[in-house]
Symmetry: C2
Subunit: 415 residues, 2 copies
């Protein structure tokens, strides 16, 4: 049996045990994992130093090295993250619904773990702890496959977490790391049909493409975020400015940052030039349609490519629209169904936008940057689904479960 095959077999066995762990044992294990990260901080920093020096020799960019580096402070955050997951309610066993049939059958729909969850991810070693914690609390076994650049760090973290599992009475093999990071093992994981119940890729376009062309196991895509802010004619101008500036500039490199601004023509003349001055002063490059450029001539001309692009950068596309309908149509035509916002004082406009915009998260008078598991109160997040099936939007513990019907009878047979 291949290494991946062996790991999958052990994970399946561990998943049977972790599915029935009590909340008490799981929370104790999460506490032990959090403690162990702090106690063994020296060991972790040392292992991480190997990765960092190898990355430096391989002339990785400063951004990559920053993401890779584990400090005492970052390890403390990982530890806090595990404690936050422990404080979340246990999703396993939740009775989602139930009803009695005319023949007396009592049908209960109960939340149960998925089984084996595999995560393929890139540089950040903190994902190793986050994902392990979320999967354990939701009663699953996890298979982790990080990137080669972080292999020593991930090995060390997983060692520490597995030891802690044992001391708390949870199965060690509920957390396993694929010990190499070659392409073959990733492909093998993607094709381990029947062995893996959910695969979550956390990475860029290349990884997602590889999953889409190779995976035979069920997966959830954490995809693009071409997010919009629509400023309605009834918007409070100051609120609109605050939200657009925040959504665009607070952290432009992430999927919930705004990429396109739509402005109702009745507010554009008065409000838009000042807003674009502010954005420009904050270093944002402006690309506008004709109306925008007539109001703010420094803007370059936006093309269809701009409407369809997730810049992930200090750039914004701006369009003046004649109506709410046009704004909704634009978002549904060009958006990626991730997160979109309306700024308005008109309850009718808010209701129509939230109903008709086909996105995972729709915001009224708030920044798109809140589309995030932590901000939603999920403790940590496994990702943000851009799919419609199973989970949509920020994914927490519940999204790592499935349901089962439990039907109680007294001898009923079907006639």
């Amino acid at each position: 049996m291949s290494t991946v095959g062996e790991i999958c077999a052990k994970a399946r066995e561990a998943s049977r045990a972790s599915a029935t762990l009590s909340t008490e044992v799981k929370d104790r294990a999460l506490g032990a994992m959090a403690d162990a990260l702090i106690e063994r901080v020296g060991f972790l920093v040392e292992a991480n130093a190997e990765d960092v020096s190898r990355a430096r020799e391989g002339s990785a960019s400063n951004t990559v090295i920053d993401r890779l580096t584990l400090t005492e402070g970052r390890i403390a955050s990982m530890s806090d993250g595990l404690r936050a997951v422990a404080r979340q309610p246990d999703p396993v066993g939740e009775v989602v619904g139930g009803w009695k049939r005319p023949n007396g059958l009592l049908i209960e729909k109960v939340r149960v773990p998925l089984g084996v969850v595999a995560v393929i991810y890139e540089a950040r070693p903190n994902v190793t702890a986050d994902v392990s914690g979320l999967c354990l609390k939701s009663g699953n076994a996890t298979i982790l496959r990080g990137s080669s650049i972080a292999l020593s760090s991930n090995r060390a973290i997983v060692d520490v977490l597995r030891d802690a599992l044992s001391t708390a009475g949870a199965p060690k093999d509920a957390i396993q790391l694929i010990p190499d990071s070659g392409r073959e093992s990733a492909i093998e994981l993607m094709q381990a049909k029947g062995s893996i119940d959910l695969l979550v890729p956390r990475g860029g376009k290349d990884l997602i493409q590889a999953i889409e062309s190779n995976a035979t196991v069920p997966f959830i895509i954490d995809g693009d975020g071409n997010c919009h802010v629509y400023v309605d004619r009834s918007a409070d101008p100051q609120m609109a400015t605050d939200i657009v500036v925040n959504a665009k500039t607070q952290r432009p490199s992430v999927c919930n940052a705004a990429e396109t601004l739509l402005v109702h023509e009745e507010i554009a003349d008065k409000w838009l030039p000042g807003l674009l001055d502010d954005l420009s002063a904050a270093g944002v490059e402006i690309r506008g349609d004709e109306r925008t450029r007539s109001l703010w001539p420094e803007a370059s001309a936006a093309t269809d490519e701009d409407w369809g692009t997730e810049y992930l950068d200090l750039k914004i596309a701006v369009r003046v629209v004649p109506s709410l309908d046009d704004a909704i149509a634009h978002v549904n035509r060009w958006g990626t169904s991730n997160a979109d916002a309306i700024v308005t004082q008109d309850v009718g406009a808010a209701r129509r936008f939230t109903t008709e915009v086909d996105s995972g998260s729709v915001f009224v008078n708030a920044s798109t940057r809140f589309s995030d598991g932590g901000e939603f109160g999920y403790g940590a997040e496994i990702g943000i689904s851009t799919q419609k099936l199973h989970a949509r939007g920020p994914m927490g513990l519940r999204e790592l479960t499935t349901t089962k019907y439990v039907v109680w009878g007294e001898g009923q047979v079907r006639s």
Copy 2:
């Protein structure tokens, strides 16, 4: 644009409209559809006669011709089915959950339609009406692709239903039929990524295999049902007999019929021979393990192949197990996670079986034959999911929806 491409484009447009139809309009449309089937029964029977005579010429089996044939009675059942769907609660707009964050953001998780649902199915023309009704009530647009053998019938049914939609003020293109039934159009549908939000195959292994190897759109598999009944040592013997006989013989050709019987050794001596006499008298062929054959020598020897086979026929595999643990392990090893039952008077055994057996539906003291959308009270069913993601077990209206987060703020930005 190809025919399938045009149909997909019209469906997307119709889906925007059907997503926001009021419950009143949807129920009125379902009523109009139900009425129209009755009013135009002559037209439908005539169109169906063409299919039936073509099938006879092509020397289709009697079973196929029976499934294909539309009588007045069957058309009345289709009509009743649409009325039953109208009586179901509207899933669209249901607030699944909601909470307030410390920063004042109000997060609501709201049920919304998937968008465009495509169904590929085989002979039975009643599926055309069932699926159309379920998709309309759940606010989706439907693309139907039936089999060539039923093409005239399906065309006629869809014509009638579309006319009824118009009269009720719903978009006609919310129900469309692919006008040919060649393999190419099926493959094109499976690969219409971005145009189809969910594809449901209703058919045999070949169709499922084609979907698994070709589909790029999201799909839900309605797969095998290798169902088990486990008779615990504490079972009521008469109840056990009734349930096993019902689960095996009431309709052996369907996915929720029992295929394997597991019997606790402490009850086997007294109960099993009489049960096997009854099954045998009902025409069931018995394949048993060694213990079974020592108690009932006429049984032929069961092999691993028997434990793994969905007979869909009057055959049963029988194994005597030394414990509840062995029964659970057998089901998890050989089952297909569809529907499994325990017969027991012991509440501890019932709780362990329902918790540890990893199936979509687990029954206590009831026949596996109840794993069915109608029996669960869903009015009609779109299928029985054997997946863990999105939907598991019998699928009704809710399973044709996704959710969306609607977040209400008062100008919140992220710091």
